[in-house]
Symmetry: C2
Amino acid sequence: MNKALQLFLGAAFLAMPAFAQQVEPLDATVVEKIRQEGLKNSQVMDIAFYLTDVNGPRLSGSTGLAKANQWTKDKLTSWGLKNAVIEPWGTFGKGWDVEKSYLALTKPYYQPMIGSPKAWTPSTNGPVKAQVMLVKATKEEDLAQYAGKLKGKVVMMEVTNPIKTTFTADASRYTDEQLQKMAEPVQPTAGRTPMTDEQRAAMQARRALVAKMSEMFLQEGAVAMFSGRSGSHGTYFTSNGASYAMDAKPVLPEFEMAQEDLARMSRLLAAGIPVEVELESKTRFLTDDQQGYNVIAEIPGTDKKLKSEIVMLGGHIDSWHAATGATDNAAGVAVMMEAVRIIKALNLQPKRTIRIALWGGEEQGLHGSRGYAKKHLGDPATMKLLPEHAKIAAYYNLDNGSGKIRGIYTQGNEAVAPLFTEWLKPFHDLGATTVTNRNTGGTDHLSFDGLGLPGFQFIQDGLEYNTRTHHTNMDTYDRLQAEDLKQASVIVASFVYQSATRKDKLPRKALPAVKPQS
Amino acid sequence: MNKALQLFLGAAFLAMPAFAQQVEPLDATVVEKIRQEGLKNSQVMDIAFYLTDVNGPRLSGSTGLAKANQWTKDKLTSWGLKNAVIEPWGTFGKGWDVEKSYLALTKPYYQPMIGSPKAWTPSTNGPVKAQVMLVKATKEEDLAQYAGKLKGKVVMMEVTNPIKTTFTADASRYTDEQLQKMAEPVQPTAGRTPMTDEQRAAMQARRALVAKMSEMFLQEGAVAMFSGRSGSHGTYFTSNGASYAMDAKPVLPEFEMAQEDLARMSRLLAAGIPVEVELESKTRFLTDDQQGYNVIAEIPGTDKKLKSEIVMLGGHIDSWHAATGATDNAAGVAVMMEAVRIIKALNLQPKRTIRIALWGGEEQGLHGSRGYAKKHLGDPATMKLLPEHAKIAAYYNLDNGSGKIRGIYTQGNEAVAPLFTEWLKPFHDLGATTVTNRNTGGTDHLSFDGLGLPGFQFIQDGLEYNTRTHHTNMDTYDRLQAEDLKQASVIVASFVYQSATRKDKLPRKALPAVKPQS
């Protein structure tokens, strides 16, 4: 090696002190124990069964979420975790439960239809029988023609995206090639292409039109709205039809429906054939407690000096309402709970404290983890940090469905890559091989990452997540893959235990700059 | 070539006189006209729209089927077809309509469920709220434990076949290799492996158990039954839950349901967690007219001598009730209607009479075509033939969904193979290439084939037929592939026109032997 190169490398190492960290392997004996417990005595499917089938939907603010919070807190306590608490993260708004949902076509003939109320929409005035009116509008002016014509009607927009028969499978796993590509170095900021100004303007115009329409339909005395986005074969995607804020604007009752039912009505109405429906939505708003909650519990650290430091793991426990949120995200919750169960069951003695967090309000904007971070760690708006910020060794998140772990995203934290590469080695035989410095977004590790803390989300096989389960009425227990969830539990338990036992906290990226107030 | 072989071949040719028939090509000018009309001015999707979206389900004996019969008769007449008639084929039994269907889980939490009443099941006693009871029984003795426990309950069997996530696409087309394999010579009798005695005994035992259970549940005062066979993601398969015979045994109201909903209740009950449901089924029996009907219409032949001979084409117009029977078999009806529309629109002058038949009662056992054959052509039990038997030049059927035509089955009629091979040539570019001497079953060409008449069904791409549409609640207009149906219309029109214009009727197989009475 020549002198110049040596000097260069030395300088490079100085600039990246984290690379100099010791890359310790996982303790093979512990890994073997974790594998035995997690693969042979797994409770992950039982946990998932209670969260989904037994508990039901867990929409933020709903009775179902409150029940699930209580159940998980009790369960974690029963395993010997300490300091279990259902902790408020701040103000959420109104809770909302569905008490009845009925939808049928009655003209030109009778047929039951598949759908359910959009979240936070009000009840119909009991059972309603009404004609459906098709509204075609691409700009506000198009709405004028409907003035005076909507009273007593159910309103829907024309369906302009017919279902396409696909010749590719709904479910898939990552191929070796895809994983290799994912591991290739890219700029840490790479990810979604940002919107162009034009796209942003178009989106804002669409939103403004939708808002205008909602207002008009309500004023004109329509009785309900039908809507839908995509999905097929009885699968539909769900979301909210109104704000959960206490001062939310009033809206009409609105149903999200199977595209087959919606498209049929659209075709009939476009052909001038009258459509009549029967429907009933009975929903209930819960306003007594407007707070949102996270469930927190700990396995206290055993090292006098290190036990004040914290390795966190978590995933959001809230879900959408039209199914039981199995892959989004009972799967993640069950895996994280199973991971701490394994550590407790084996009586492993982590030096640092392990803290599990089951977040609320994720679906409405990572509210639970953001509220938690702000309360305990610091404010990302000002980068004013709280003392506990210094104590967080790592945060691991799981929220991409039921697929097994294929690797981990470092979120551009290149210094942890050698550690993770080493820690994945005992799990290569289970398909977990890949460390990518890329970012992944959309879930609760961002609340840590945004404060410069080492927060990570695992790479998971997609399975049917994007096609069938994520936010759909078909996100049920049936979609959960037992072997995948067992594998994930074992890997998470190992990563968490290692993070709680190694000499140093995990390396951090530089603190993010304070963002200018917009 | 040696003398012995020559003699053998000579004898073989004598035994198969049809091979000596002239193999005429299709008239290129006519084919081009048919392609232009069928691919550019197609009405096949409009016809299908009326049969499905506008008309609705067409269960045998239902109001929907009666409407569809009238509409198709009128439509065929409007195109200039003659002798259009809604012709009774014999006694069917009771008609049945659904007037309301509502299903929801109410405990342990509220969630609407996907399902509908099984055909020919009675109404519930208005809206019912009831507990669900899981019955586990593999033999009659297992039922004793439920005596006295079913009053007021909804009863369901344990779901023992959990949904498996598949990594293959729902929809597919035949590959060249598959088509080649299909064209390879096999014994004409090859097809499904017949049941072993053991399998038959097991099936009979299962049926006997189901019958015994139905009887017991009714006697014990259960209020309804839940059932389901397969399907996933909101797609479920439908059938009948009772006989349509006038003297059918009484049964309970019964719902066929999405496997996700059924499996959830099964898991909850198996874990000892009470399940309560809300349901309502309102069905109506139609007993005024117990006859079944076919729709028949003709394009009269123009050749003085040949016009008494008949080329038939058809498909069944009845469907199951939980969707609009788009691929089973509005697709086949629309293609056959479009084929005669093309021939009329082009003012082609077929020498023989072309007769379209839209069969009723196919789903309950090819009743419509069998009744028609018995009335007009002969009795397959005695092989006593009627005069019109001699006049049938060919029958073409379409009933395998929305997939384009990839070829045709000769049903072991090897003498037509050279003709069909020639007639497919102008459609190789559209993917129709294959003639197979194999049999295909399950639909109305068998009513002709069983009388030794040349009755054929086309080979069609399967698309989603077996996975998503055949007899499911998702057999809707959305599943229809316009380009496939246009292609099929053009090929059928050409085959029918050629069959109606060539010198001879199509070659026939030997008359079947009279089957011994069982």
